[in-house]
């Protein structure tokens, strides 16, 4: 009964989406406030219905109702409760339901927090948002019903894919989807602006918080996914340039560009046409990512069980949404009025450079990801484009980006002073030299890595240049500096942390890839494995039982300078229900540096293959991501972005009258 209720709620949501796709639009055209207001109420109704539907499916997972097919295929009574819940989105059907849930949450948020947006624009945005929702409800109901029943109901479920039974992976999809789906708002705003044929600086101000919100979650989602891949796949790598990773990275690059170009539009009314295009492309890339994972077009470790029928349907959605938006763009873009002028050396100029580099980087990833399919379609040849291509093309794009980054916030709008900015970056240049020298003293080589360390130090210190400048820190009394720091807008803090985070990530990447040590070999109990000054004593293998698996645990005692500092226990788990296994690497953190041990196969001669890695400063890679997201959150909390929002306006009105 409960699954049927969930199914029915989803059908109702579709019906409401149809209403919401048309009525507010008619209202906006005819200026009818009642019709426009339907959009707001319908958006809340959609959210409630989909949330109810999602709740029903969650219930089936929690009580292990195996008469529901997706529950049977992905759950197991012995699984810990948390994985029972998260296995809901560990499969195609459930993850689509999560996808539309997030979409309706965003729809409801727009409905709730857009009273400062003109009614007709808001109505149009909600209508466009509802086209997206309607298409995806149809997709779920027609090709991927998560509530399909089995009769008779099986007694036990098939269990969740073991590599998904992990906390990191449990929260990775929701984070990533909030990011992907969050960009639907800027897409809807862009399409609505094109429909209305009117766009101005205020548009950018309304859109930027949504872009920022999506960007924060996408950043966290990607960082989480990367850390998960690092500790769970057992190879010590944290980024594989896998098509699905690229599918999440492309919207991130485009979204980062959008964040910056919207800034120019907000302040200077320039880059309007470009910003609209970026808003469309960012969500389009999110949709293409969704398509790639589910259609079976590309080979990837992440792909869901693929089904061409679903692929055709998603492609149909892509053509309608992206094709429709881009058609509208090609018709209307040239009629949008242009904004302010600026000199090449200016804040705007720096942000244009940022956009050029980021969108080129995005195009590079795009080409590298899709080139193999295009080549196979044209010539039939099978190739794969891997890390060497991306590493070779990415560095030349990111080095100038990172070099220019600290300059951006120091340049004035319209016409900047490059010489002045360079002087104010003296600290950063000094830091670069210090970074280089320190790295040289510690490691000596390779030179490229030493230069990269210098670059990272420059980025980190350069990111705080604006902060130092505006607080006059080290140049005046500390009290004055503190007061000024308190007075700084949150968005300035946000910029500082986001830029600084990138430098931190770079530092981690460089140290890990240049000075990481890898030891792979077959060892017997009692053997010593020396890794970068640490001694790992392999003590042997034992068996242990978990709730729904058996595991082989290797025990290694870690010695540093003859003193025992820790015991590491990497394991291999065998999950009986699926006959599959997973690797649990053992990690030992020493500050932000890690020792990493993964267990390989047991060999017939009594030895065990063990992979041991020394990963200097590796944690900085993800800490940098967290710092970036934190910067985004600070910027989002800036009062400026909320000015004009209903509560604040009321408070101010109250303050004025009172």
């Amino acid at each position: 009964m409960i699954p049927e209720l969930g199914h029915y709620a989803l059908i109702l949501a579709l019906a409401i989406a149809l209403v919401q796709s048309v009525v507010p639009l008619v209202g906006a055209r005819s200026g009818d406030a009642v019709l426009m207001d339907v959009g707001t109420k319908a958006a809340f109704a959609q959210f409630l219905l989909v949330a109810f539907s999602f709740g029903c499916l969650t219930y089936s997972y929690v009580v292990s109702d195996f008469s529901v097919q997706t529950t049977f295929e992905n759950s197991h009574t012995m699984m810990p409760m948390i994985y029972k819940v998260t296995s809901l989105w560990g499969n195609h059907e459930g993850s689509m339901l999560l996808w539309v849930l997030i979409l309706t949450v965003f729809g409801a948020l727009v409905a709730a927090f857009s009273s400062n947006v003109p009614a007709s624009l808001k109505a149009t945005v909600l209508a466009v948002q509802s086209w997206i929702a309607g298409l995806f409800y149809l997709f779920i109901l027609i090709t991927s019903n998560p509530f399909a029943r089995l009769d008779p109901a099986p007694i036990q479920g098939r269990d969740l894919n073991p590599i998904l039974q992990d906390f990191g992976l449990a929260i990775h999809p929701p984070l990533l989807y909030i990011g992907y789906v969050g960009f639907s708002i800027s897409f809807s705003f862009a399409v609505a602006a094109l429909i209305e044929g009117r766009i101005d600086a205020a548009w950018a101000r309304w859109v930027r918080p949504w872009v920022l919100l999506a960007w924060i979650f996408l950043t966290l989602g990607i960082a989480m996914g990367s850390y998960w891949a690092y500790y769970t796949l057992g190879w010590g790598g944290w980024w594989y340039w896998d098509p699905v990773e690229n599918a999440s990275f492309m919207p991130w690059l485009a979204g980062t560009a959008l964040l910056h170009s919207a800034l120019v539009m907000e302040k200077r009314e320039a880059l309007k046409v470009w910003t609209i295009l970026l808003a469309i492309l960012t969500f389009s890339l999110s949709l293409i990512g969704t398509f790639i994972v589910r259609s079976g077009v590309l080979t990837s470790v992440h792909a869901f069980a693929s089904d061409p029928a679903r692929g055709v349907f998603i492609l149909f959605i892509l053509v309608l949404l992206i094709g429709g938006a881009l058609s509208l763009y090609s018709l209307r873009a040239s009629s949008l009025k242009q904004g302010g002028l600026f000199a090449p050396i200016s804040r705007e100029g720096a942000l244009v450079l940022n956009n050029l580099l980021l969108s080129t980087a995005c195009a590079t990833v795009f080409v590298g990801t899709l080139y193999p399919i295009a080549l196979e379609a044209l010539t039939g040849a099978k190739i794969s484009v891997g890390a060497p291509f991306f590493n070779a093309t990415f560095a030349p794009l990111f080095v100038p980006l990172l070099l220019a980054m600290p300059f951006g916030p120091l340049l004035a709008w319209k016409r900047g002073d490059l010489k002045g900015a360079t002087q104010r970056l003296t600290f950063a240049f000094v830091a670069a030299v210090i970074g280089f020298v320190v790295a040289f003293a510690i490691a000596g080589q390779p030179v490229v890595a030493l230069l990269a360390i210098g670059l990272a130090a420059y980025v980190i210190v350069g990111a705080s240049a604006e902060f130092l400048e505006r607080t006059a820190l080290f140049r005046g009394p500390l009290g004055v500096s503190l007061n000024r720091a308190k007075g700084l807008p949150r968005s300035t803090w946000g910029t500082m942390f986001a830029h600084l985070g990138l430098g931190v990530t770079l530092l981690g990447i460089v140290c890990e890839s240049a000075w990481g040590v890898e030891k792979i070999g077959a060892f017997r109990p009692g053997d010593d494995i020396p890794v970068a000054g640490y001694e790992l004593k392999f003590e042997g293998i034992s068996m242990r039982a978990g709730p729904n698996y058996q595991e082989q645990v290797g025990t290694l005692e870690v010695f540093l300078g003859g003193r025992s500092i820790a015991v590491m226990e990497p394991s291999k788990r065998a999950f009986a229900a699926r006959g599959m296994g997973s690797t649990q690497s053992a990690l030992l953190s020493r500050g932000v540096t890690q020792l990493y041990v993964a267990l390989g196969d047991s060999n017939p001669d009594g030895t065990t293959t063990i992979r041991a890695y020394y990963k200097p400063l590796v944690l900085l890679i993800w800490i940098g991501g967290l710092v970036m997201a934190f910067g985004g959150a600070l910027s989002l909390s800036d009062r400026r972005l909320r000015v004009g929002s209903p509560k604040l306006a009321k408070n101010r009105a109250a303050a004025q009258t009172g």
Binding site: G296, S330, K382
Partner: protein, 212 residues
């Protein structure tokens, strides 16, 4: 796509540097259509790839080529019908259709496909032989004892050298060698109730006809 990007950056520059000259709108509208064109091309590409089958299907360079020179010793102590089960020699391939199955006792999918091979082996028009890949002889014998021995010959490839010559990606894999001693088909991964009729038997019939 790179072209589009250049066009996009031109739009950006247009926006930035040369606003609203009289000719600009016409040029811009031409650029404005490029993203749409690029997307439609991409859509067409996706559409054709959707129909093109499983991208996980790896081609084998060896199909249509003679089977590699193979000489593998028998699995010690493995008997069938009171006689020792022989090893594998290349010369055995001539004259009949042979299924060469690469298996190991430590490979879980191999255990799942084993009963299906017992079924296939009932077809007396084909020879079924096994290459025992990187395995301990005791374990291999126990494996065949438990799941049944479909093989008329079992060659021991303890070093994995022969598997490399056959271009094996991983166990299990199954080759169909034609009567002319050439490799006619290769199945990567296990035989399953799904593909035994739809793929394996169809390919076997094809190989049988080709030699007739």
């Amino acid at each position: 796509m790179l072209l589009t990007v250049r066009a996009m950056s031109d739009i950006a520059k247009n926006d930035a540097e040369k606003p609203a000259t009289p000719e600009a709108p016409r040029r811009r509208s031409w650029f404005a259509i490029l993203p749409l064109v690029a997307f439609l091309a991409l859509g067409a590409l996706f559409y054709f790839r959707l129909g093109a089958g499983d991208p996980n299907q790896l081609p084998s360079a060896l199909i249509g080529r003679p089977a590699p020179q193979t000489s593998l010793p028998p699995l010690e102590g493995l008997n069938a019908a009171g006689a020792n089960v022989p090893g594998i020699q290349s010369s055995d391939f001539n004259g009949s259709v042979t299924l060469v199955n690469v298996f190991a006792s430590w490979c879980i999918p191999c255990a799942e496909e084993a009963p299906l091979f017992v079924q296939l082996a009932k077809d007396k028009r084909v020879r079924v032989v096994g290459i025992n890949y990187k395995d301990a002889p005791d374990n291999a014998r126990r494996f065949l004892g438990r799941y049944g021995n479909p093989y008329q010959a079992v060659g021991v490839d303890a070093s994995g050298r022969t598997a490399i010559e056959w271009g094996v990606y991983g166990v299990p894999e199954t080759f169909i060698v034609g009567k002319d001693g050439k490799i006619a088909y290769k199945l990567v991964g296990p035989l399953t109730p799904d593909n035994i009729d739809s793929i394996m038997r169809v390919q076997i019939e094809k190989a049988l006809k080709a030699g007739a």
